[in-house]
């Protein structure tokens, strides 16, 4: 639409025939490889696992995609601004743990507990952002450290406070019904159960897309990632933008955690490992975000999440061995990275001076 388009080489675009110009535009959208991938995967699993296309299968796909997509959109914005966040997955677990412990152990009402865990999540985001902005350390390493700290603390903390790795019984707390309506409502269509998380995902994607393309904040995000020096020279608030984005990913982590907490009426602290941490980045990269920043889209991340979910559910429904999903994901990531490399190459091919 605006700059999510590759430079057209050679002849000036105005001299191109209209049809060719539209084609060039379409080919240059960051979300295009993900869209093609999505169509291929839907076609393959539509044959291999026809249940996928029933309302039940659709509901399970969209449910998986929603949680991934919420994180993926936030991470996509951060990637566009040239930063990484590995801590979002573990923050989801840790923040829901805080909520659950405040309700279960301290006897708090639901909403104050949610509010406090939200504040704690924002604090983690602020610390991440503050460290990145002020030390100049790579955000990959800073958030890796945050990931380890949160992971260790939540596992040790839950055993010490609750005596087990599972906290339940939160659904008797005052205010739970209201929280359930906001974060856990479901609607049955056919034999599928569609959850409210879907609306959160779509709403956040639309909001992020609007903010990226139509606000000063969005311009600042693109410029911070694509040309940080130029952005600073022109007075774009690069530091403030980066801090805000780290808070946004932290808030997305809290939302994912809360959606899970309300759905399961409890929280279990497992050992998710780095895989969950990387999932969101994979989704954003498949969606067309450049790892070097300055390029990508929120819609692309949403399509990436959908592609991821279709592949996972499809492999399960087709009765393949689950490890095949990992192999498939690896291939997908490689293809996405190659597509991104093409983008970078085409950008470099344009004379710069």
């Amino acid at each position: 639409m605006i700059s999510d388009r590759l430079p057209t080489l050679g002849a000036a675009p105005a001299e191109m025939p209209r049809g060719r110009r539209l084609l060039t535009r379409a080919l240059a959208r960051p979300s295009l490889p993900a869209l093609v991938g999505l169509l291929v995967v839907v076609a393959v699993f539509g044959v291999q696992a026809p249940e996928l296309l029933t309302s039940g299968g659709l509901a399970s796909v969209l449910d998986a995609a929603a949680l991934l997509g919420i994180g993926g959109v936030a991470v996509a914005l951060l990637l566009i601004a040239g930063q990484f966040d590995l801590s979002i997955g573990v923050l989801a677990v840790a923040s829901s743990l805080v909520t659950a412990l405040l309700i279960e152990q301290a006897g708090w009402d639901t909403w104050p507990a949610l509010l406090v865990s939200f504040g704690a999540s924002l604090l983690v985001g602020l610390v991440n952002g503050f460290l990145v902005v002020n030390t100049g350390l790579p955000s990959f390493l800073v958030t890796l450290a945050t990931f380890l700290v949160l992971q260790g603390t939540s596992q040790a903390g839950v055993s010490a406070l609750a005596g087990s790795v599972r906290v339940t019984g939160v659904d008797e707390a005052p205010g739970w019904a209201a929280a359930d309506a906001v974060f856990g409502a479901t609607v049955h269509l056919g034999d599928g159960r569609f959850r409210v998380s879907l609306l959160w995902w779509l709403g956040l994607t639309a909001l992020a897309s609007w903010a990226l393309w139509r606000t000063r904040f969005g311009n600042a995000v693109f410029a911070s990632g694509g040309a940080r020096r130029a952005a600073r020279q022109l007075g774009v608030p690069v530091r403030r933008t980066t801090l805000t984005l780290f808070c946004l990913t932290a808030a997305a982590g809290w939302l994912i955690g809360t959606l899970g907490l309300v759905r399961l009426d409890g929280v279990q602290v497992g050992a998710p490992g780095l895989a969950t941490a990387v999932d969101f980045i994979v989704v954003a990269v498949i969606g067309g975000c450049l790892l070097t920043g300055g390029y990508g889209s929120a819609v692309g991340a949403a399509i990436g999440a959908l592609l991821y979910a279709v592949a996972r559910q499809g492999i399960a429904l087709a009765g393949w061995d689950p490890p095949w999903f990992q192999a498939f994901l690896g291939v997908l990531l490689l293809v996405a990275l190659l597509a991104n490399a093409v983008v970078r190459y085409r950008l470099k091919a344009v004379p710069r001076s």
């Binding site: 605006i2 700059s3 388009r5 590759l6 430079p7 057209t8 000036a12 675009p13 105005a14 609007w210 139509r214 606000t215 000063r216 311009n219 693109f222 410029a223 694509g226 040309a227 020096r229 130029a230 952005a231 600073r232 020279q233 022109l234 007075g235 774009v236 608030p237 300055g294 390029y295 950008l347 344009v350 004379p351 710069r352 001076s353």
Partner: protein, 272 residues
């Protein structure tokens, strides 16, 4: 001809004993200078003489530690490049400050985007931004432009044009030009000099930072020579020709020798 006289009485920009330190290193040390409206003041100096720091201070990127920066007699202290731009000082940066992946109109307004609506719904005024970009680019000679194309699609020289058009749009009182480091073709140089001369005839105070004396002498009215963060000489067009400037650039010592010699001849130079 009373206009220019009045303007030069209160210069558009004035530096009074301005100092900038990086740690214990003085990047600029008690630099005093005036940049009058309607004239082109060239800043000449070797690499590391403090030219870039001077640009950074004038454009709001770096705050000065001591001394004063006056705009038409009023002391100013820019906290950000946005404030400097809002005050009417625009800069053409050495690296042109163009984000290659952003579209041309986004580049044009980067950091100062026009918006409409109130806060939660405040959004970019896209149509106006596109329109102004096309007009401003046409004024510097780039026509038939699709403002939605990324800036990386611009032909080599047109990036300079983008930076210049942006500076002309936002620089309503003063224009700071840090001479682009990328080698320029004759056509691009002409474009840059044209923009500079046009800004002068519009009555703007122009500060041209360069290390090319021939270039400076071609358009400059006044010359400020910097060496090791200090003022090594202040000259006017009547004092020197291009080869003088070239020789002065070569040796730091000659700066001060010639300045004192000139001050003996023209006593009014000492007051500057």
């Amino acid at each position: 001809m009373t206009g220019p006289v009045e303007q030069s009485a209160v210069p558009a920009l004035e530096l009074q004993r301005l100092s900038v330190r990086y740690g214990s290193v003085h990047a600029l040390s008690r630099v005093s200078a005036t940049v009058p409206a309607g004239q082109i003041t060239c800043v000449l100096g070797e690499n590391g003489s403090g030219k870039s720091t001077l640009v950074a201070v004038l454009s709001g990127l770096r705050r000065h530690d001591e001394g004063q920066l006056l705009m038409t007699g009023e002391p100013v202290h820019f906290r950000s490049p946005q404030q400097a731009r809002a005050a009417g000082i625009a800069t053409v940066w050495q690296d042109l400050a163009v984000a290659p992946l952003l579209s041309i109109w986004r580049n044009f307004f980067l950091g100062a985007e026009p918006t409409r609506g109130v806060w939660p719904l405040r959004r970019l005024d896209v149509d106006r931004a596109r329109e102004i970009t096309v007009q401003a680019m046409a004024r510097v000679g780039v026509t038939g432009l699709d403002p939605d194309q990324p800036a990386s699609t611009l032909q080599a020289g047109a990036r300079q044009s983008l930076a210049i058009a942006r500076a002309r749009h936002f620089g309503v009182r003063a224009l700071v030009v840090d001479e682009p480091t990328a080698p320029l073709t004759v056509g691009q140089q002409t474009l840059l000099l044209q923009a500079i001369v046009a800004a002068r005839s519009q009555g703007l105070a122009v500060l041209l930072v360069t290390n090319n004396p021939r270039y400076a002498h071609l358009v400059g009215d006044r010359f400020l020579l910097l060496a090791h963060g200090q003022v090594a000489g202040k000259l006017t067009r009547e004092d020197v020709d291009a080869s003088d400037l070239m020789r002065l650039m070569a040796g730091g010592e000659e700066f001060s020798a010639l300045t004192s010699a000139l001050t003996d001849l023209h006593s009014e130079l000492g007051e500057r």
